[in-house]
Symmetry: C2
Subunit: 341 residues, 2 copies
């Protein structure tokens, strides 16, 4: 009764990958909602939309034409946040105003020519081809001298800020290692130095032993709700074998990775009966030419929906000014996802 | 031509308050948008709504009745994310799974009995009374033994996750110092130790000297777009005098604080011709019983709108997995806000 219980009492949890804390409020899921309702995405998307910038053969916003592509298609983002030809330089006043030029390359990956097929709707063999493209891109971009980090990700659904409904992912590759992977590098390095094993190797072993947050497992990967998840149904895909980046994946592992992405996103779509919005992306070894024996490849899924297809979790006032907060426990989220398998 | 230019080239900026970096992409504001359109808030809000949980005399979600209040009204959140009576305890497996019980108190502040009046719509004298309440609350909660940090904030607008349209703010007070103020404490401490002045004293002097990001000024406060702003029209209100928390504010400063909040939010409302949504909140001295000569009180405004009343900035894939990114420079944002004075 009077003892601390993770399933019942407000508590903080530590994110071992970033070194930061979050607030968990298990009791809070019943609060009333008179706030914003999200739109349910239209189910009826055409296979081809003549007005879409990303469909094969169409004209893009910058006047160029897409080729009549028939498979996964990659091109340089016409409005990339990063550019390759920025002159070096910086700006500094004391330690208070500091800026540095940043070089990089932004690309768009149309998963398939079909305007209506999300990753979930594609066959595993087709998703495998997307994984091949991710691997090629990481290799090609990472090999460039001025690229020290390659961030591959997808914003799925209008609610996640996708600026175009044609299913696509993105790559932002740049000179600096961004803040989040830099935190993960520091945490993984410290762990590796102390234990001689990767942080995620030991974490995955603990998770498999506890068996409270596992969603599903394939031969080579495990999908689970991390102990420190901040989004209601956040998950992470971790390879059982310790490797630092997608270049290390064997053909069999790539097929298996495609498989677990398909299975996990199918579960997501079942949860509220809609194409489940999320931002997802891989974290992997910086391409900075250094040895990173500590890095353990993984993929994060950050989906915003909380209670239904129309009510999402808002990371706002307290979360922006204090720290992330969640209303249901990671354990109960995992249980719900598992029940849909 | 070929030299690095903050107004033109992608670059990273350093946030001196948190010690983290963000990506700035000045050239990117012209990218096409086929994504989500936000709803424009209804202008016609009744003065009293019989179905609102927060209007005077109405029944709340937990069955209690609000008093027929006529001024700013504070009550304990019926569905608070924090609770005062949590048993102490923690959970730990290695260094990888770590959780700790967390005690706290969540309160709601109805700014006024009127369902239709935002802070912007209230008279300065009425806003001053809200400031008085903030001061009383910070004092009362901060004096409690188990409260080491008092976060006062407001989520304004449905797009910022406000769960009820009746204008209100919140207080989350708790045992732990949350992640963001903890970062600011570390940065301010290091600066104070080195220079013997508060970080924001020197920062404000630089800003007044550069005069590129100032939005407006009153006798005691300055509102500006910080050099490291991540949200398109993010601002910070900094007192000219160095003090750590709202308890130090004189009567005159409190009136002046009310004044600058009124003026700043009026400018915001003019920008896109709508009640401008934001999350805003004060950062101030932890109430942990320690000396904090480094702490310099301030208030952050994080508004999401980017291009119009219906297109906001999404902090999604790259931002969640990498770091925050913005499309217009803080300097141009300040200029636009200033032009509306
Ligand atoms: O407290 P409310 O208004 O119910 O809820 C709102 O503010 C909270 C504090 O920022 C957030 O945790 C919620 O996600 C948001 O919807
Ligand atoms: O690149 P897009 O699809 O135009 O834009 C989307 O993803 C970007 C990367 O996460 C974000 O910076 C934008 O705010 C978002 O709308």
């Amino acid at each position: 009764m009077n003892t601390f219980d993770l399933t019942e009492h407000p508590h903080r949890r530590f994110n071992a990958l970033t070194g930061e804390w979050l607030l968990v409020s298990p009791h809070r899921s019943k609060r009333p909602w008179q706030g914003q309702q999200e739109e349910i995405p239209k189910e009826e998307r055409p296979q081809y939309d003549p007005k879409c910038y990303l469909c094969p053969g169409n004209v893009r916003a910058n006047g160029e034409y897409n080729p009549p592509y028939t498979q996964t298609f990659v091109f340089d983002n016409d409005f990339g946040a990063l550019q390759a030809d920025v002159p070096a330089g910086n700006f500094q006043k004391g330690n208070l105003l500091k800026a540095e030029a940043e070089r990089g390359i932004c690309r768009v990956i149309c998963f398939s020519p079909r305007h209506d097929l999300t990753l979930t709707d594609m066959e595993v063999a087709e998703i495998k081809k997307v994984v091949d493209v991710w691997q090629q891109q990481y290799e090609e971009l990472g090999a460039l001298d001025f690229i020290n980090y390659v961030q591959i990700f997808e914003n799925k659904g209008a609610v996640m800020g996708s600026s175009n409904p044609h299913p696509h992912g993105q790559i932002w590759a740049q000179s600096a290692v961004p803040v989040e992977p830099a935190k993960e590098t520091a945490q993984q390095q410290a762990y590796f130095q102390e234990h001689g094993r990767s942080l995620l190797t030991d974490y995955l072993a603990l998770e498999l032993e506890e068996n409270k947050r596992i969603v599903l497992e394939t031969t080579a990967f495990v999908a689970l709700v991390p102990f420190w998840a901040v989004w209601p149904f956040e998950t992470i895909i971790i390879p059982k074998r310790h490797f630092g980046d997608i270049l290390q994946m064997t053909e069999a592992e790539k097929a298996d990775f495609a498989q677990i992405i398909k299975e996990l996103s199918t579960v997501y779509d079942k949860l509220f009966g809609v194409a489940f919005p999320y931002s997802a992306g891989m974290h992997q070894c910086p391409t900075d030419g250094q040895d990173h024996p500590e890095w353990h490849f993984h993929m994060h899924f950050y989906p915003p929906l909380l209670r239904s297809a129309t009510v999402k979790k808002f990371m706002v006032g307290y979360e922006m000014l204090g720290n992330p907060q969640r209303d249901i426990t990671p354990e109960s989220a995992a249980e719900r996802l598992r029940s849909l398998l």
